[in-house]
Symmetry: C2
Amino acid sequence: MSKYQKPTLTTRRLQPENLETPISFLETNTMPPELFYKRNHFSYPSLTYSNYWLPINGSVVTPKVFSLEEIAKLPAKTLKVILECAGNKRSYFEPKTYGEQWEKGGISQGYWTGVPLKTFLESTGITQTAKEVLVEGYDKGKRTDMKNEYPYARSLPLDKALHPDTLIAYEYNYHPIPFEHGYPLRLIVPSWYGMASVKWIKQISVISSEFKGPYQSVDYVYYPNKENEDNAFPVTKMNVNSTIQTPLNMEELNTGSHIIKGIAWTGVGSILKVEVSLDAGQTWIETDLQSPSDNYSWTEWSYEWSTYEAGEYTIMSKATDSFGRTQPTEAFWNQKGYGYHAIDQIKVKVE
Amino acid sequence: MSKYQKPTLTTRRLQPENLETPISFLETNTMPPELFYKRNHFSYPSLTYSNYWLPINGSVVTPKVFSLEEIAKLPAKTLKVILECAGNKRSYFEPKTYGEQWEKGGISQGYWTGVPLKTFLESTGITQTAKEVLVEGYDKGKRTDMKNEYPYARSLPLDKALHPDTLIAYEYNYHPIPFEHGYPLRLIVPSWYGMASVKWIKQISVISSEFKGPYQSVDYVYYPNKENEDNAFPVTKMNVNSTIQTPLNMEELNTGSHIIKGIAWTGVGSILKVEVSLDAGQTWIETDLQSPSDNYSWTEWSYEWSTYEAGEYTIMSKATDSFGRTQPTEAFWNQKGYGYHAIDQIKVKVE
């Protein structure tokens, strides 16, 4: 008789479609497609699957065009990879920054299967002058700050493009990638924020210059100063980060035992430790890491908290990775609100 | 090919189920059941429909028990009624208050059909000492602040109980009330915050004293002081209020023409005017009211804004009702975070 709904994506914006994963209410470690956050810059593109081809051109020795059938025959690998929107947690910046007001659910993970980009570039060869690999999606449209129409396109430096785990993926969780997530082919760039993982790949061009498209040199750039663009630098690797899933912020709890749990992740190395504080950061307690930490997916952590003293508590979580990077107390504010990774915190009342 | 999702409810809490209406993304004036917010204090109750009866007892002349078939034969009326959670917009209070962190979507409206409670009380009669009418739901459970189990139960003063528009409803939008919203019978108390509209009615008792259950005298009480319970008073009628639906907060817009639109409502009388400010409250412009204002449902309002000057804008909305009540600049803070109705505001950037 009781008809509990499954949690669903939270609508942040309808057109273009931007929907957030209900991160506090996940029951699985990998996201079923219907709970994978959606971040679109434009309307969904129109593709003709029947004659879909992947062209690889530019500063290559032999330009080639691959069919999906040919790609399916190439040696593939499957990686469990986080995609995190660069704007994840943007709504927590103070002062607030423009753009989708993501809370903590601009992040998802699952198994991506595909062929390393490297395999394609070995097949075409690259010229001596090759500097970056430009990946263009079928999605395109206008921006509020410019006149022309632009495709969604991003470049990778050669070393990242040739990394054996940078994939041209065609499956998510062992099924064809859902259309909204980039079918038929999506670039997957592990460890980098999600903007690098271009959906609906239209073509791949090896270029001999620095790509300056708006999604490379205007957006997805950290501008640390409020009044000017000094000291700007590009958004690339994910910061070390953690999120408290339960309890919920401003929840009222009984005295007794409660599980404090969440996830932690990093763009370099793996998560070594996650600490929680029950006294607003004065003292820290190491939590149990519940799943093996690897380089591209998140670690679940938990702490069993027995509390018999009524009162208000500020609970914090802080992750540290294998390169000694840890979460800062204060967020690194930047004009466009990228890469929020301050220590997570919630407040609860025990009564 | 493009598969836009319909907006869905936002999960605020899974158990008990509390889900918020995606208020910025509504396409209809009345809520289809799947977009009606859900506010539960407990798990869903177990009911046996096959032998469901409605007992009316206590300080009545002739206690009676009504079957659903008997109720269906009584003269019914249909009213378009808002239900607004008393905690709607709670997340905007500063300092924050405990409980579900509702944003602007703890509100929905639609057509409720049922028999006036008055009809039942005329049928049973009431005694000279009758003071309140207590309505108990089938939902029950424990609270974090007390030891015992309590049912969800609320009383109405006699005059409100006998108001011809206080209904024992059995249909929502001309279909049986969905189970999660109170099937088979739900009290509908127009103009009052939603806590009065008890779901899954178990029994109705006329009482000769003041009801002191926890959902009457602990919760749903305004405690205006942070440190004590002085000057407390009960939550009853909805405050005059308005919500900006579009643009979204922190949205980036082109120069040109944009529709600023939203809803406005009140618990007394009707909405007479809604004003917007484009300069953070220095000047106000009257908007167009798009639907006729009546006493129990909201008014849609809109304003076409032509802007050719790039910059940041703070947009506000302020409703005034037919009793001259208007929204305050500062929220009326209270311990439990009820009745938020400060002037609504968003920020946008035009470029």
